[in-house]
């Protein structure tokens, strides 16, 4: 295996490959120097936020996706579909997942050029630098495309496909992945050419949401397109259809080629501006009234520090926003779906999507809490090493206060105002109280997922995959809770009131216990950080 790998490496660095790179405007020598640098940085955990450089995260993701498609294959084989439909399903799944992953990765690489600050004054041309920087997208393809399509490709043989079907299936999946990767790079090429550097990070985040939003619209867009009569616009004869197809393909190919050209031409020139680019928006210096209240009731200035810190960083930290923004279409999608049942009171005896609302807060907090420890400005954590240990308890309370007031209480006030007209004051108030108690309990429990000082660690793409089993278990528990709630609780107002009081008490005790745990986690992680300095003096190589 080692010999094979060495031979492959020699081939890649050989004169033929160098000539090929040269033809694409890439300086082969510097390209390999950069590849060696990025590999070394990844090996020393300095580029962990990039999925393609994080072998552990790649392997975890590959296994999870492999298990998912294996299950899909088994289920599909039972239904005995035609080979063409079977192929289309898996190619569709590959396209959708790879678009999300590669778009996010291209954005993460291109609008977060930390290494650009070190390399900007080195004699490297834009094409070479961009090619080296984006090679990790190919690594993602090499891991994830076989993981997604390996078992389905073999499964096709059980449907009576010819012997070469697995090769065709995998080849098509790789080709699709390659086209998506190039298209993602091209989109950012266009953005980098036309969007001012100070707006680029925000534009990249918005662009990352586009595939998910498009999917949601596609899923729920029948109503939107009801009055559009597409058949009137499409010619019925074959010849114009072929011409339109060719023209569309040519325009797309031209747009991708120009986007890639923009990227290689402009990227290194604008890298300093991108790296240093901020929104440029002036922030009004103002004191938060809620911050003052938090300081008064939750433990003084340290708790206010926690409240203000989390409030500002959640809005401004690029890595946090980048990971949270793709969830927004999902949240709106769920709200849209649950809106259909809002006219019916949850006490009517009919099951509606409204019964899910209290638990949706649990899902939302499950995504937010583990993400809170990761941020772009994690090197600023030294500040907390200087804080007295007694400050961390109130600091944790301040963080909890923000999450509770902004993510739990405020939406419930809106919910109450919206439902009081639809269900009457008694049903609305009781449901809101019940939902508030459950959401507070979820927050109390999920606070334990914040493993240290918020925004104090570089992002780890494997983290989300590792949380997957917990997510599945949580989903099952929620399903049981929803069933119990519908079948037992929402039969009488008294039982809901009693449950709300009990859940409220449980939330109180869970929160107290989790806050102690959270403050200890902060101290523990800061202790690790200061101990790390000793480890870092270890000689390398």
């Amino acid at each position: 295996m080692k010999t094979l790998r060495a031979a492959f490496n020699r081939l890649l660095r050989g004169p033929a490959a160098c000539r090929l790179l040269g033809r694409m405007g890439i300086d082969a020598r510097r390209y390999w120097l950069l590849m060696q640098l990025f590999g070394r940085l990844a090996g020393r955990r300095e580029m962990m936020s990039h999925l393609g450089h994080n072998a552990t995260a790649l392997r975890t993701n590959a296994w999870v996706l492999c298990a998912m498609t294996a299950l899909m294959t088994v289920l599909l084989l039972f239904t005995k579909p035609g080979v063409a439909s079977y192929f289309a399903v898996f190619i569709g799944v590959t396209g959708f997942l790879m678009m999300g992953i590669l778009f996010s990765e291209a954005g993460n690489s291109l609008v977060n050029p930390v290494e650009g600050l070190v390399l900007a004054h080195q004699p490297i041309d834009g094409a070479t630098y961009t090619a080296a920087k984006l090679t990790h997208l190919a690594r993602i393809l090499l891991y994830l495309v076989p993981a997604l399509n390996g078992i389905p490709a073999l499964g096709g043989l059980l449907l009576g496909a010819p012997w070469y079907y697995p090769l065709l299936h995998l080849g098509a999946a790789f080709a699709l992945g390659g086209v998506i990767a190039l298209s993602c790079c091209a989109v950012f090429g266009w953005l980098i050419r036309f969007v001012p550097a100070r707006r680029l990070k925000a534009a990249g985040q918005v662009a990352e949401v586009v595939p998910w939003t498009a999917f949601m619209l596609f899923q729920n867009g029948r109503g939107l397109f009801r009055h559009v009569h597409m058949p009137h616009w499409i010619p019925t004869e074959t010849a114009p259809l072929v011409a339109i197809g060719i023209a569309a393909a040519a325009v797309s190919a031209f747009a991708v080629a120009m986007g890639l050209r923009c990227l290689s031409g402009d990227y290194l020139v604008r890298i300093s501006a991108i790296a240093g680019g901020s929104s440029g928006a002036q922030t009004r210096p103002r004191r938060s009234r809620t911050g003052e209240l938090v300081a008064r009731h939750f433990g003084g200035q340290a708790s206010r520090a926690g409240f203000e810190f989390i409030s500002r960083m959640m809005r401004r930290d690029w890595q946090f926003r980048r990971q949270l923004i793709p969830m927004i279409p999902g949240v709106f999608g769920v709200l849209y779906l649950s809106a259909r049942g809002w006219r019916t009171s949850p006490f009517s005896g009919t099951f509606t999507a409204v019964h899910l609302v209290p638990h949706l807060f649990g899902v939302l907090l499950f995504f937010i809490c583990p993400l809170l420890v990761y941020g772009s400005d994690y090197k600023g954590t030294w500040l907390f090493l200087l804080a007295p240990a007694r400050a961390f308890g109130p600091f944790a309370r301040g963080i909890h206060a923000w999450l509770w007031l902004r993510i739990v209480v405020t939406p419930h006030l809106v919910l109450l105002a919206a439902t009081v007209w639809l269900w009457g004051i008694r049903d609305a108030a009781l449901f809101t109280a019940y939902s508030l108690a459950i959401a507070s309990l979820y927050l109390g429990v999920e606070l334990r997922l914040i493993d240290g000082v918020p925004f104090s660690k570089p992002p780890e793409p494997s983290r989300q995959s590792l949380l997957l089993p917990l997510m599945i278990l949580g989903g099952l528990l929620m399903a049981v809770a929803v069933a119990v709630q519908h079948l037992l609780l929402f039969r009488s107002h008294t039982s809901v009131l009693a449950a709300a009081v009990l859940l409220g008490a449980a939330a109180y005790f869970a929160t107290r216990s989790s806050l102690d745990y959270f403050a200890t986690a902060i101290r523990f992680n800061l202790g690790l950080m200061s101990a790390e300095a000793k480890v870092l003096y270890t000689e390398v190589g």
Partner: protein, 262 residues
């Protein structure tokens, strides 16, 4: 040291640069001659680092023309980058690399032959007393050690033009004295040096000529002696204060002390 009468190695002609919608350099023009050591002075935010970054090919100007070593910027940025050594104001490094690895990366990117590179790295590390730390990661280095690595990386490929943005930041006294001597030796060897600093007495000692930038405009260009004569001031610090309008900082100091005690 040179008086700058030879063919200029850097020509800045009416250069304009803006961040967002704020113009930070307004029609700045000057030249640097071969072998000259030129000090670049100015208050915080005056545009010094921006000027240096434009000269290094890192930022593209919004207007005007720039030529470095005969190559126009930003069109021939790669050729310019081959010929310059740049010490940035903040020591941004790849923290997980060792000192030796970082210098190797920098030298190889500049096409320095391997034998020469290793010999130069060894000499630099020895001179800067970093040889015993060459295999330690850069995140374990002190601020001064990181600064020495940056200076070494800027000199490894024997550049024609050396851009120093606050090079003495974090250096101990011995290393600072060595860098000042090094600047003089490099200039004597024909290197052109642009030296940006807030330490005015060092600038006065090592530089042939001084450029003062204030609010994005070049407000003075000449030798320290000629600037003192033209402003009737006795020290470069007084010249600087008089030209930049920072005649007295005492009220500011008093305000800080009062705020601390309130």
């Amino acid at each position: 040291m040179n008086t700058g009468e030879s063919a200029p190695i850097v020509e800045f002609d009416r250069v304009v640069f803006s961040y967002s919608f704020t113009e930070v350099l307004h029609q700045v023009s000057f030249t640097l001659g071969k072998g000259e050591v030129v000090g670049l002075l100015g208050p915080n935010g005056a545009g010094k680092s921006t000027t240096i970054k434009i000269m290094a090919g890192i930022l593209a100007p919004g207007g005007g023309t720039i030529t470095v070593a005969g190559f126009p910027l930003p069109a021939r940025a790669i050729d310019v980058k081959q010929r310059i050594g740049y010490v940035p104001e903040t020591a941004v490094l790849f923290d997980s690399l060792t000192g030796q690895e970082f210098l190797e990366l920098s030298g190889r990117l500049h096409d320095v032959p391997e034998d020469t590179l290793q010999a130069r790295i060894r000499a630099m590390l020895e001179t800067f007393n970093l040889l015993s730390d060459r295999s330690s990661r850069l995140d374990s280095y002190s601020k001064g050690m990181r600064q020495k690595i940056l200076i070494a990386a800027a000199l490894l490929h024997n550049p024609e033009l050396i851009l120093l943005d606050e090079p003495l930041s974090g250096l101990d006294v011995n290393a600072a004295i060595m860098i000042k001597d090094l600047i003089a030796s490099l200039a004597a060897g024909g290197k052109t040096i642009l030296y940006s600093s807030h330490v005015l007495d060092v600038v006065e000692k090592v530089c042939d000529r001084v450029l003062i930038i204030h609010q994005g405009k070049l407000i003075a260009d000449g030798s320290a002696a000629s600037l003192k004569a033209s402003t009737n001031e006795s020290t470069l610090e007084d010249v600087f204060r008089s030209l930049t309008g920072s005649a007295s900082v005492d009220p500011g100091v008093a305000r800080i002390v009062a705020a601390m005690q309130s």
